[in-house]
Subunit: 150 residues, 2 copies
């Protein structure tokens, strides 16, 4: 487990790979963002992008999942505080494979040994082109506080 | 359909209601953010919040879905550009019912009659307390461009 003391700026967490099929994109969007450009292949073909693209919410969820596995699962997170500067650099299309990394950029000490930790998420596609970037802030437990209770 | 010309600052889109059960929270998190605080009721009971809380990604997805239905479904959106200032004001718990509104805050004209439109999303719980706020930016088609093709 990584505590506040361990999260030095520059520490990097490489993502696994996440593949998205057309069916994945349509199924997610039917529940979470049922617009024609995400759920209707024929309408999408005649639209701005010439085919189905993933909902921004889906692209975001993939980035959070990759970050959850690569970083959060081994960090003593108390809570997420916020997310800034979510930028959708290019649309995600069926067949894309997403990867990238998270990186610690700042650590601000708080009471009880805790720290507020800011990190960037950089998600790329199979051409190594940026797809989504964002900055997250979490509250993290210190190693001492953890030993003595929640 | 609402085009760039129609999206005046101050225009408000009230959300429907969205209810979340413990099962909903666990199922979403199993796929998208499988941390103990979201998927393991026993571990969560002993954690910071005394029980399961929704993944930030789930809370975000609900806000996008409410915005999609209330606003995006009737706006001539070309693409999402980005999201800023996502703030998680309080954790979402099983049994919460989320609602709120989106509101246009700025419209910046672009070429071909298009506009970049910035809007805020304000999601509250059943106590009318803020749960998530954020600001989105979309590129929207003008009504003339729309009449003459994609």
């Amino acid at each position: 487990m990584l505590y506040a003391e361990d999260l030095h700026p520059g520490l990097r967490f490489p993502y696994a790979e996440f593949h998205l099929s057309e069916q994945d994109i349509i199924e997610f969007a039917r529940t979470w963002d049922p617009l024609p450009s995400h759920v209707d292949p024929e309408a999408a073909r005649q639209g701005e992008f010439g085919g189905i693209i993933a909902s921004a919410s889906h692209t975001f969820a993939v980035c959070v999942r990759l970050t959850s596995d690569a970083m959060m699962a081994q960090v003593a997170v108390i809570a997420g505080k916020g997310i800034d500067g979510v930028r959708l650099h290019k649309p995600v299309r069926p067949g894309d494979t997403l990867s990238g990394h998270a990186e610690i950029v700042e650590r601000r000490p708080r009471s009880q040994g805790r720290a507020e930790v800011t990190f960037t998420c950089s998600m790329t596609d199979q051409s190594q082109e940026p797809v989504l970037t964002m900055t997250g802030t979490i509250l993290v437990r210190g190693c001492q506080a953890s030993a003595s209770g929640p």
